[in-house]
């Protein structure tokens, strides 16, 4: 177990280092520096700026400096937003994305699991067909379609919900719905197929035969086994949703980390690009490791290689 965790963490560290290096190279491939767009910068001022942020040094040296700073937890200052460190930017933007994403994942879980169960238990009946049709359509709809349809119906036509910003609970409804839509449909389908699998197992028949009532057999035997695939899906899902969906944040102008990431790339804000990429990647990768370990703890039948 410990060996497995150490091995997984090792791969995670290698991956994060790879991503950081790759990002550094890619970023420097993009023509135009961070100070180009500013109006009428004199060559002297430009040189001073570059010297201040160490951009005049050879690339490899910049890379080494950045990496050693990053290892010490210092991600540098933003090149564009004067006087703000990358860490403080992440610290203010991430909670916003995390809150919306967290609520969305919770919603998806609380809706998807019961829907999948209901659908599996009424296999072939009308309810099952309705749920499965909706879920199948649900995974085919890209998030920008959901966002725009929601915004048009509830924001513009009906005027029930505010479309911009995040100042009250009402503002949360649309971004959360948009983010939760796909995972709900996916979890419903996953839950249905895994539930059907479990319901067909011998131990379910045994439980019924020895007189365990339907309710207990469902919760004690079926649900506990059927929920395992959902657990594996939940980890990466949480990581992806919590780190902010680029599209949802763009459409509903949510001041989250996803929007910050896109913005920093267009602005060539080198340090912010590096910082957000490393932060997001680390979060996603660690989440995957955690899920695999939790999976093993929940289900002792799974052998870790």
């Amino acid at each position: 177990m410990v060996k497995y965790i150490i091995k997984r963490l090792g791969i995670a560290v290698v991956t994060i280092w790879l991503i950081a290096t790759l990002t550094f190279c890619l970023m420097n491939m993009v023509p135009g520096g961070p100070f180009l767009s500013e109006k009428a910068v004199s060559p002297q001022a430009m040189a001073a700026l570059e010297a201040k942020y160490g951009l005049d040094k050879p690339l490899f040296q910049q890379y080494l400096t950045y990496m050693s700073d990053a290892l010490h937890g210092d991600f540098g200052d933003s090149l564009k937003q004067r006087g703000r460190t990358v860490t403080s930017i992440i610290a203010t933007k991430f909670p916003v994305s995390a809150r919306i994403g967290g609520i969305a994942v919770l919603t998806a879980f609380c809706l998807g699991v019961p829907l999948g169960c209901i659908s599996a238990m009424n296999r072939g009946k009308l309810g099952d067909s309705i749920i499965i049709v909706i879920a199948t359509c649900g995974i085919a709809v890209p998030s920008f379609v959901i966002c725009t349809v929601l915004m048009y119906t509830f924001g513009v036509k009906l005027g029930w919900l505010p479309t911009l910003g995040l100042s009250s609970w009402k503002h949360y409804i649309m971004p959360v719905t948009a983010l939760a839509f796909y995972p709900t449909a996916y979890i419903t389908r996953l839950m249905r197929s895994s539930m059907l699998d479990v319901l067909g197992q011998d131990y379910m028949r045994t439980a019924r035969a020895k007189g365990v009532n339907r309710f207990v057999s469902l919760f004690k035997h079926a649900l506990r086994n059927a929920i395992l695939p959902i657990v594996t899906y939940l980890g990466p899902l949480l990581a992806y949703t919590v780190t902010g969906s680029f599209i949802v944040e763009k459409i509903f102008t949510v001041p989250g980390l996803g929007g910050e990431f896109i913005g920093s790339i267009t602005n060539r804000d080198y340090t912010v690009i590096m910082g957000t990429t490393i932060f997001l990647a680390t979060l996603m990768i660690l989440m995957n490791v955690v899920v695999d370990v939790v999976y093993k703890l929940v289900d002792p039948r799974i052998k870790l290689k």
């Binding site: 990002t23 890209p142 197929s193 699998d197 992806y240 690009i273």
Partner: protein, 350 residues
Amino acid sequence: MKENPNPLSFQARISPEDFLPASSEEKQSLVIMRESVSFWKDGVRRFRKNKVAMTSLAVVILIMFFSFVVPFFYPYTYEQQIRGSEHLAPMEYSEEELAQKAAGENVFPHVLGTDKLGRDYAIRVMMGSRISLIVGLVAAVIILVIGSAFGSIAAFFGGWVDILMMRVVDIIYTIPDILLIVLLSFALKAPLENLAMVPGFGWIQVLGRNLISIFIVFALLYWGGMARMVRSQILTLKESEFVTAARALGAGNARIIKKHLLTNCIGTLIVTTTLQIPSSIFTESFLSFLGLGVAVPMPSLGSLASDAINGVNTYPYLLFIPALLISLIILSFNLLGDGLRDAFDPKMKN
């Protein structure tokens, strides 16, 4: 042939009766009653019975017809700006066109209206779905080639080759794809533009550099799943007798992989490739929506939807048509893939 009384004897003990012609009853048992059902026929039969899959296949063919064939006969082109016909509603004519009609000329109606620059929206939507389909199909082929080659080589050679190659897949799998796609599409813009200037690489300009960077991203990141799938199949297949037989007949490694192993997991390959198409289309529309997709004036369903967002109050149909179409394309490819899986690879169903 008589039973040999001594089980340890190697003598054949053949009697002359063994060489007599077979009787008619004996011949009867060897007659093939009906043609044997091959893997393909069986699969196709199962697929035909599946109504949902057949319907989605019909929808896919219809969409392909509209995006690849119809634009050749269509009287408008996707970049043609018609003066005075800006922002027409579906089936509406501008004043000039009405005058032309009154003069007895034949004016083709704007079936889906026009956009803010007076371009016919129907042809733009058709071209947009053409881009989406091309992206989906080409990406699927790239992933198929890289993934199956990588997976089969890893599984076939085993040992440290397998461990090393699968570790690479593990790492690629954990790289957050959207992050890297966004970064790469920005970073690849300039090098591709420079490359397009080099003689012999002019086709880059035609295809659009964003489209190419999307393909590069797919080729770099998305074949991990395919490689794992192929590897797990080949790990069991390579122990089969026919591989030993082929080896005994002197077949080389490359031939065994190509002719024997990969052809035996063709079902998995087809299904995984088909299911890859909608996810590539999904990603492309996402990128186009963020403005990282195909270059203007070439439309894509994602960029059409993105352009329409600002005018959604007044011209909602400009948004809903591409949005609906992209959902329809993804849905029908998903259902088609599911149907193919049920027909050709029933084991994969979970």
